[in-house]
Symmetry: C2
């Protein structure tokens, strides 16, 4: 079935501001709540949120095989379960409905009033109920930087790293949508000069610039997803800030990995941009040497050229861009991550989320965490307002943005925003 | 409110075989499916499964504040959300209904026929939809044994171990109820004599003898659960086999912890035994030295005397008991685990599951894994049929059992059973 929604020449009758992340070629999926407390599945064009539940009730999805209440739900899990063919049919239909030449909804004010909302008038929710969340560690630059700082500069990459997309399980219950404030975590740390561990608010709160993909039901327990099929089970992508407390992490992480250092909160951008929308931005992935094992081997282009940037904004001050990276710097692809994750028969379900790991580029200004940008706190980062940061202060806001751009179209993710509040006071 | 259901002198009009794990003083909760494909919440007395959905429809829970379909669901999550007071009211009511002196249901054959099923006629399901699953590592003997084998015999315990209940996130999607067969996982390993990693079925599949607790909604994001309140948020416990592939684990686990070595499957016993039922078996926990930090300090008795055993049964052969342990050997208590888990504000929800970690006792016959029992494969375990095992063979079945016993009553968990099938063939 052709991916008609990607037609770069199509224009919408909804106005799309210049440099918007959400032209009619994007058509991402999300969940929002209106001022009348109605929760619905929707999409976005320009600065308008579109109620797909209302569209379905008005018959605009007739002819597509959907359950009656498919879009009148508070998560996308069921829609994602329906599989790639349905996603494409619905996205193509949305492109048609909002095509500048289609008068059906365009010229029906009564219908428009129940379908279209200003973004300022709605609140974005988590788009999926995330069953399981896995975080990978697939940027060679990031793994090398961390290895140099935390372990051995001469042998920064561990022996398994070039053979397997290293990953670990994270906490689903603390993943929040962009905009939710985050409390600085309390916890145990072992300061360099201390004789024993101490308790209190983390002093080294950090962001991690990541992207994440959302899966559909991919397999049955006990059977792997072959790498050639893996991309069919990926619904779309979001920006992802894997907040981290470096001092807690350092003390707790041996031998079973990060735990409280990561599970106090993780933030995602609320609109899931589909793999169909990202298709024009496919690009070559990194050369992999040594060659990966057979179950991880891929041909052709399998990553995406997605510009990423991170800003830090102190309270009552302006933003400073502190990192510019790109998703294409990842060493392991999403298909490789998914094939590896399931090679032992691990079941992957609709609504599961898999993070890329921190996406650091080759140059110091492209590193994806404060840990790397300030090189463990040795080189403070200068902000526009004259202040400096080694890690994140209370009331600082971190803003991640990401977009693809070619000569014809810009497809973006919007923002992934979170502000760090002071720690909860423990008596 | 008194915990009336624990009255040791109560007898049921349902026959309870001698040494049954399920006298009327137990009243665990589970989910089962009948031959007519009806799925329901239920409890068990002796060898009878009791349909609590049917009981509710017949009015037997009248006077308790429950939603109309509370027990006509396929998970216990909503019931668990209702909190400790409701759990106790319902359990007390069930004790009354099945008390030998209560004739209401006892003498009404028509009602009995829709309420009571033979265990052989139903199939147990997962009792909860597990949102997040965390596994701890709280047996000092196990952590010491593994440290001796995998790291440094002289410094087997890592520096953080005596200060924090070390834990990590696991995979919810592959937790299955007792009885489901498990495929041996494929994966990458690094044999001692190899020049690079190799791919194939794990050669070192192991069980881990654990117990797990199921929580109710415990906090809001950003706020901790104080240790003195932690037990109120624990609904009950199950037996738990945290299947592990030791060769995959050894190669993959640095630096982020076990991943594919554990997430191919985990098995739980299907009846959740409530903390109320376990109350008479509270016992002193281990002495903790150094004293834990304030947020982990507890007074009085906080663990449970639960006898545990593991049998291995080769295909077409008899069982051999290969380990006898006890839950009381755990160094960290469940309340300490939950207080630690949330001290950074991590949200804990109804239906989350937390594993104890492998429960090894002080003597070699009480070790909770093949890894420890055979000491890394050096001392094969002899089975009744004359065969030997270092790890688990294809078509071996592992059976875990657990029960509490005092002079008056025995409260048990039934069985946690899983059979290892040959690996999926990857072309």
């Amino acid at each position: 079935m052709p991916n008609n929604a990607n037609d770069p020449n199509r224009k919408s009758w909804i106005e799309v501001p210049k440099n918007s992340d959400f032209p009619i070629q994007n058509i991402p999926f999300g969940v929002f709540i209106t001022k009348e407390d109605v929760i619905t599945i929707g999409t976005r064009i320009g600065d308008c949120a579109i109620d797909m539940g209302a569209l379905q009730q008005l018959g605009y999805f007739n002819g597509i095989d959907l359950t009656d209440d498919m879009f009148m739900q508070d998560t996308l899990n069921d829609f994602i379960s329906d599989g790639k063919k349905t996603w494409r049919l619905v996205r193509n239909r949305l492109a048609e409905i909002f095509d500048e030449n289609n008068s059906s909804l365009r010229d029906n004010k009564k219908q428009r009033d129940v379908v279209i909302f200003k973004m300022d008038d709605i609140e974005m929710q988590l788009p999926v109920q995330i069953g399981d969340y896995t975080d990978f560690y697939s940027s060679k630059e990031h793994a090398t930087n961390v290895g140099k700082m935390f372990r051995d500069p001469e042998n920064a990459l561990l022996p398994n790293w070039l053979h397997i997309p290293v990953g670990y399980h994270g906490r689903s219950s603390t993943i929040v949508p962009s905009g939710k404030n985050i409390r600085r975590p309390n916890g145990q740390t072992m300061p360099a000069d201390a004789t024993g561990p101490v308790f209190g608010p983390s002093k080294l709160v950090d962001f991690e610039l990541e992207m994440a993909f959302i899966t559909t039901d991919a397999n049955v327990l006990g059977e792997p997803v072959p790498i050639d099929e893996a991309e069919d089970y990926i619904f779309g992508m979001v920006l992802f800030n894997d907040w981290s407390a470096r001092d807690i992490q350092k003390w707790e992480y041996v031998p079973l990995g990060p735990f409280l250092a990561k599970n106090f909160a993780s933030t995602i951008s609320p609109w899931i941009v589909t793999m169909d929308a990202l298709e024009p931005f496919k690009t070559e992935s990194c050369e992999q040497s040594p060659a990966p094992m057979k179950y991880l081997q891929q041909k052709d282009k399998h990553t995406f050229d997605i510009n990423l940037e991170v800003s830090l904004q102190p309270e009552n001050s302006s933003e400073t861009v502190i990192s510019k990276s790109n998703f294409k710097y990842m060493y392991w692809t999403m298909a490789q991550q998914l094939a590896h994750h399931t090679v032992n028969g691990c079941r992957v379900n609709s609504g599961d989320m898999m993070g890329s790991g921190t996406i650091s580029g080759p140059t110091p200004d492209s590193f994806g965490s404060m840990l790397e940008l300030s090189w463990g706190g040795k080189n403070p980062i200068k902000l526009n307002d004259g202040s400096e940061r080694k890690f994140i202060n209370d009331n600082d806001t971190v803003i991640m943005r990401g977009y693809c751009q070619n000569k014809e179209v810009r497809i973006g993710f919007g923002e992934c925003v979170g502000k760090i509040l002071p720690a909860f006071e423990i008596k």
